[in-house]
Symmetry: C2
Subunit: 336 residues, 2 copies
DNA sequence: TTGTAGGCGTTATCAT
DNA sequence: ATGATAACGCCTACAA
């Protein structure tokens, strides 16, 4: 079934059918009704590939991430997807690509989206475009929405890491914790982004505002944000400073849960002896005992905002690249 | 840049370029080299939409699931995706669709994949096609791979639930547990599938093989497999039978973790007073205390197998629908 | 080995 | 209000 078959059945030309399909030109009430009824009857859908060839573009938003099987990533995707459906329409305008952390894959995906005009805007999560790609996208007038990062001249949406850290540490301070450890990721590597640095900034600011002294010994650096690293971190921290009575684990909930497990082994009571706050609010955070107090990132919302911004940018409603910062939220549970 | 531009630059016809691109016909070493160098130089990629229009089909495998932000689902997807990349190729042949549990969305997605010839085979996870759709797909010769289910005349891949349950309960029995409770999902509803029933079958079989009596009072039915339901289940179970000393929670790890939490509140020691085995092996299972013994489903593997089967079926290497059953594995940790 | 011509299912221009 | 015709970028049967 193609547009000509429909036209024949309705006794009109395929041009007329096309016009009706796309709400263009003027069509008499009668023919429209007739054509639509035939379309309905035969369950006809125009061939999307042919449309794209004819239009020279795809009415799509591309979403490129490093993978899918990550809670953070898949939740962002669902947020974006949610926005991609207008009421009553059930076929999305969002196509997903994953680089699997492979540099070659990243290059090929980004170049093909561009060359084949597979999308009118591209959202990137944990995927950083190089200068050349940015230049080419700019030339082709395809906007890039960068998530969890910031670069000159392109749109970005990110969480206010400094604020999240500030709130967490302030809460610990308010609970009269005196020696607060900070577990964070590595600083100064391009691939890692500015996140660990920003969180440390929030930590320091909270300390300063409460007129507490900053002590370098209370910082432990971690690489992969894992459960195992969390366990080791507690030992390290304790070796540096015996009297630790609070920990802000800026390296994520999983790592924080490693700390909790090690504390249990060492018969350290949480929160009585040591209070802990994590970052991310992964599902398991509410399931451990005691449930983990943590900084929740509005992940779903980030996806929604990203899609909206992508559409607005593609349709020129948004003209100048802007940097959107979303506020994280401290979720108070049982570890403080 | 299109195929004619490349042809012009190489001083040949676009037909020649097309042949080189698709490895068809015979081309002299020299022209091939020349054309390829130009393609390389200009970073040319053929327009996929145009290809599809011309070929009348898309060389794609569609993956339709209810959502993305589920550990189970996104892991299956990653398994399939992994298989979708040949060595050295970085642009996948897997397109993702999500119904978001919406019946209308499901219908539209399935009908459009068919009508627009968006794929040569379709993998469905937690999405059950109705009779009409099956008929239409059959007519169009597009194979369906059903995951976690089984239907007449279509391919399917699923986990051996009965075996998983059997192993879990047998292990409990081997640890000299006398009264073993079973928490499972609802039985007899179409949407829910045969899973709860199969797991109960494994439970009963293990009991029988160990010459233990089956006691209906030891079964608790649960609806949504949630943490909260798990907490309630323990109360229910204890009300029916005080001497419960083992629980096989066939309603998933989350539910099992609810049971653990409630046990903690009631000062019931795990595993000393009551042993617990879950189902799924979600990430959190290894993070709680004590870490949860559970039945692990080979989820990633299921994705890999699904993609392979989809390709084989699309290319007629597989002709008769078959039902593949994968073995789950008991992961022994600390709750037994 | 190479190229000409026609077709795939759309959309768009411009007469009628 | 409607339709004839061309165009999009690709593939391919067949001719040279």
């Amino acid at each position: 079934m193609n547009i000509r078959d429909i036209a024949k059945l309705a006794g009109v030309s395929h041009t007329t059918v096309s016009k009706i399909l796309n709400n263009k030109g003027s069509i008499s009430k009668n023919t429209r009704k007739k054509v639509l009824s035939i379309i309905e009857k035969y369950n006809y859908y125009p061939n999307e590939s042919a449309r794209r060839v004819s239009l020279g573009r795809a009415e799509e938003i591309a979403f490129v991430s490093t993978r899918y099987a990550s809670n953070f990533i898949s939740t962002v995707i669902e947020g974006a997807e949610q926005k991609s459906y207008e009421p009553g329409k059930y076929f999305g305008k969002l196509s997903l690509y994953s680089t699997r952390g492979n540099e070659n894959a990243k290059k090929e995906i980004l170049i093909r989206i561009l060359r084949e005009r597979l999308a009118e805007a591209v959202i990137m999560l944990f995927v950083i475009p190089d200068k050349k790609i940015i230049r080419e996208y700019k030339k082709a007038d395809i906007p890039i929405i960068l998530l969890e990062g910031k670069m000159d001249g392109i749109y970005s949406i990110r969480v206010d890491n400094e604020k999240g850290a500030y709130d967490a540490v302030s809460y610990l301070l308010k609970n009269r914790r005196k020696k607060i450890g900070l577990i964070r990721g590595e600083i100064g590597y391009e691939e890692v982004g500015p996140t660990p640095f920003e969180r440390e900034k929030g930590y320091k600011k909270a300390l300063k505002d409460a007129e507490k002294e900053f002590n370098k010994k209370l910082i432990v650096e971690v690489r992969d944000y894992t459960f195992e690293e969390g366990k080791k971190s507690l030992d390290l921290l304790l070796k540096n400073e015996k009297k630790v009575d609070g920990i802000f684990c800026a390296a994520g909930d999983l790592c924080a849960m490693g700390i909790m497990e090690r504390a249990r082994e060492l018969k350290i009571k949480i929160p009585d002896d040591i209070a802990i706050i994590g970052f991310d609010d992964i599902k398991a955070a509410s399931l451990v005992h005691p449930p983990l107090t943590t900084v929740s990132q509005p992940v779903y919302e980030m996806g929604e905002k990203a899609f909206q911004l992508a559409v607005d940018a593609a349709e020129k409603r948004e003209k100048k690249p802007k940097d959107i910062v979303i506020e994280p939220k401290l979720i108070i549970r049982g570890t403080v």
